[in-house]
Symmetry: C6
Subunit: 218 residues, 6 copies
């Protein structure tokens, strides 16, 4: 039995990636749900024993959420759950996964479950580099994931064994907008793309054309 | 004298299950009550010396509560009490019990007292695996409980002695909706089932047909 | 000079019972007062160096208070004071005393001072077992108290010396409603009993007939 | 130069009494001021490095203040300052001094500076016993104070040397109302006494006639 | 280059005085700024690594500010900055400096930069004694300051070397009103004096005539 | 791949400067974003493992922000992110960078990316001295930065090697207004300068003419 889902789509669920110890990757499911606010104003509630850097990453992601959605964020509570992290979560490399899961939950747009992702985020949506990309990609491939998003600034760090290169497509990105465009499956694609374009204008780093790598090529 | 009630029904009370040390299970009564909010907005108040993971499990359960009930959660305080846990509570395996007790209290629907349950929860209502299922099932059987709900993902971990298998029915579930359907005794069953169906649509894991095991069969 | 009052009635004051060390009981006066709220909404303020379990017991009692009284709890502050506990208070056995003192203060109904009481509480008003009942009963008897309420689930733990059995009546109870009925002296008894009946309907444990023991008989 | 004022009257200032080490008393000036609330609702702000019991005593005193004054406590901040306690304040024996200083400040009624006082308080205004009364009385006498209020329950603990007995009048009291009546100097005495009478009705301990001792007599 | 300004006037800036170690004084610039409130109500924000007594001194000063100014304190945030105190600030001797800087900022009245000051404060505006006055006065003189305000109760502690006595005028004061009168340079002096007179009526210690010492004379 | 951008402009991004260990400088990107407030009122959220002095520097900067912008600060959340500081941030030398990034984000005015800056701030906008200016300037030069702003009070501390002097222009400043004037590229320059002039009037230190140094000259 395995909690990882690698096919179809799901609202509010993303396959993140983690490194355990220094040389072992794993798929880390992240689940988001949006509810009416219980307090006088909305709040973001993250669980999974997040340590200091991970808690700060949730605050950074919330900057993007408050900008992106047209919904009045004062009326909703956002729940973010890291599944199975009973030993705690360190680092901010799940930021892109959290952003994607929450935007999926708020907007009600399904996420493709055959993709995984890793990346830190600036408060303006830029995808920043992380550690352990090689181990993470191999873990995604072993789990049956077909595509993995990594920070463009980590493209040179990928030293994946040949047998994994053929199993998975590696997609370097520089802004969260590129991930959302490819991982979400909106009913109204035109309206969604217009929203993403607006989000991309907040980028700190000037946008490049996305470099889509074929399996085994970075 | 024993605080465990194993027959009839009660509003706001559920027989949870705990493991003490590494090889001993026990029935853990969980009681919920709903009151008018004392503060400017409603809050969830949990007692019983809950440690960090247990406190986070209450936050995760609250995501489901805020979604499920039609009542305005800003006007009520929700009290959750773990009975007799003077040494503290670790872990999140009581999540399904907390959710069931609180939904019973909010909706005023009685809970069957001849059932017990264990299971972690995602913020979307999925029942996630827990530890110690064998010891928990045996403790429920010894206490006279007739049915026990366990996570479907733990079905393979059940190594119950034959004498207990004949005493208790083991029901693997994958979503809280399945527990609510079987453990609550609503006056208006049709309306209740409609509400549950809506709740099930939030599932992270695609729904399966519930596998109802006869006593001694998983 | 002794702070314990053992005759007449007083609003907002109850003779609780405590165990010091492992074999010595004492009468523990608990005083409540209700005032206009100072903050934007009402709050419960408990003093007497309450440790963690004792602080949680105050939260559990507040569930009952918010249910019981018709007064808008958002407009009042409730003060609960443990008298003379300069070494701190552990445990939740004063819960029934706190509930009785506060309901007396909110409703303005006097409490009989010739009674003492001990008992934990569920958030639905059930009286739950405590430790040290024998030492507590003997301390009450020595202080000149005439009646003592104990949890029904502790009835089998009473090993009081004969000389004390003749001095004091021991009354096992299973719901706070039974204590309120016997310890409070309302001006309008009929209205008060109607309110209590409604409170009793929240019980987790099905109500039994109260077993009133004569002095020396449990 | 000495901060202690021992003659005339002052609004919002009271001569409290402290024990340092185990055998040395001193006069401890306590100053109160009332201002428009800065926050959304009023608050009590106490300074002077108050430790846990002393902080709780401020909460207990606030129960009396909220009851006593007709002024809307939600619109004012109450400042209480222990003067010169750079080593911290332990205990609750300054409670009567704090209550007297704050009521003086709220009502604008001067306090006699030739009196000193010591005593703990219940939330209903009862004066409860304290430690070190003998050392405190001697310190007050040495400082030139003419009258000292002590808890009636401490009357038997007074072992003052003869030379001090002739210098100071010792007045045991059982309710804060007795101190306010004798230490405050209201412009409208009739209205003030009516207010005090109402305050006295909250007493936990049935009121006795105040025993006014002549100098050297308890 | 030196941050200390010793001539002209500035709004919201005061030359405080500090002792480092046990025998070395220094000029400690304190800067205040008043802004529209960011939160629902106004707050006082103090920076410079203030330790416990220093933080309490800010609370005591705020009692005076809330009384003094006619402006609605609920609509403003008050920022107080101790400049250059990277090792932290202990004690409450900067209270008069903080009060003067903030009143200058709120009212928009310039402060004379050729003066320095030291003194603790009661919540009613009384100037209370501090330590290290001799070292502080000598530091002010060395920095080129022309006048220094000290607590009247410290007048007997001044043991300044002759060469400094000739450089600086020492002014003992007993109430903050005396400092404000001499250190601030209001456009409308008559209106300002009327406000100060009202402030002085809150004094705990009966006002004396200010003793203005000529340079070298205390 | 390098996160530092050294040409063009970007809204909400500034090249700050840091010292690592005692003798090594680096460019520290600081990113700001402004969003609709999530809570009842706006707040400033800073991430990057800021230690105590760095957290206080954010509070000091917020005094300037609340004064500067005409926008109602109660309706916005301000996010400030130190990029890549996984070992934590000590000190307040990034204050000018934070102020510049946030004002850029609030006003939507681009920042020149060929400049870097270092400097502490008073709550009135004065630029105060920092440590390590020589190492910071050399790091900026090595990164390809063309201009660097330093505190005027640090002008005498610059001991830059000749080869760096020719690569970078060093501009000492005494008020944040001077940095904003030169680093921001507003669409409406006249209106912007008028706003800056008003900001400069809050200066603690009387304004001097800005000394613009040519490359290699301080
Ligand atoms: Ca990840
Ligand atoms: Ca794109
Ligand atoms: Ca359980
Ligand atoms: Ca079903
Ligand atoms: Ca008790
Ligand atoms: Ca009954
Ligand atoms: Ca005292
Ligand atoms: Ca009287
Ligand atoms: Ca000073
Ligand atoms: Ca004067
Ligand atoms: Ca910097
Ligand atoms: Ca300029």
């Amino acid at each position: 039995y395995d909690l990882t889902i690698i096919s179809g789509t799901a609202v509010g669920k993303v396959n993140g990636l983690a490194v355990m110890g220094s040389d072992s990757g794993s798929v880390l499911p992240i689940v988001a749900e949006v509810t009416p606010a219980q307090g006088a104003s909305g709040t973001v509630i993250a669980t999974g024993l997040l340590k200091e850097i991970a808690q700060e990453s949730i605050k950074n992601v919330s900057a993007i959420l408050k900008k992106f959605t047209g919904k009045d964020i004062r009326n909703i509570d956002i729940h973010v759950q890291f599944i199975g992290t009973y030993q705690g979560v360190e680092g901010d490399s799940a930021s892109v996964s959290v952003a994607t899961a929450v935007i999926s939950a708020i907007e009600g747009i399904p996420v493709r479950q055959d993709v995984a992702m890793t990346g830190s985020l600036s408060v303006r949506g830029d995808v920043l580099p992380v550690g352990g990309v090689t181990y993470k990609i191999e873990a995604a491939a072993k789990a049956g994931i077909k595509k993995v998003f990594i920070p463009r600034s980590n493209a040179g760090d990928v030293l994946v064994e040949d047998r994994y290169r053929e199993m998975i497509e590696i997609i370097p990105v520089s802004h969260i907008e590129e991930i959302l465009e490819q991982a979400l499956v909106p009913a109204n694609r035109a309206g969604f793309l217009a929203k993403l374009k607006k989000l991309a204008e907040h980028a700190m780093i000037p946008p490049n054309q996305p470099i889509t790598t074929e399996p085994g090529v970075v």
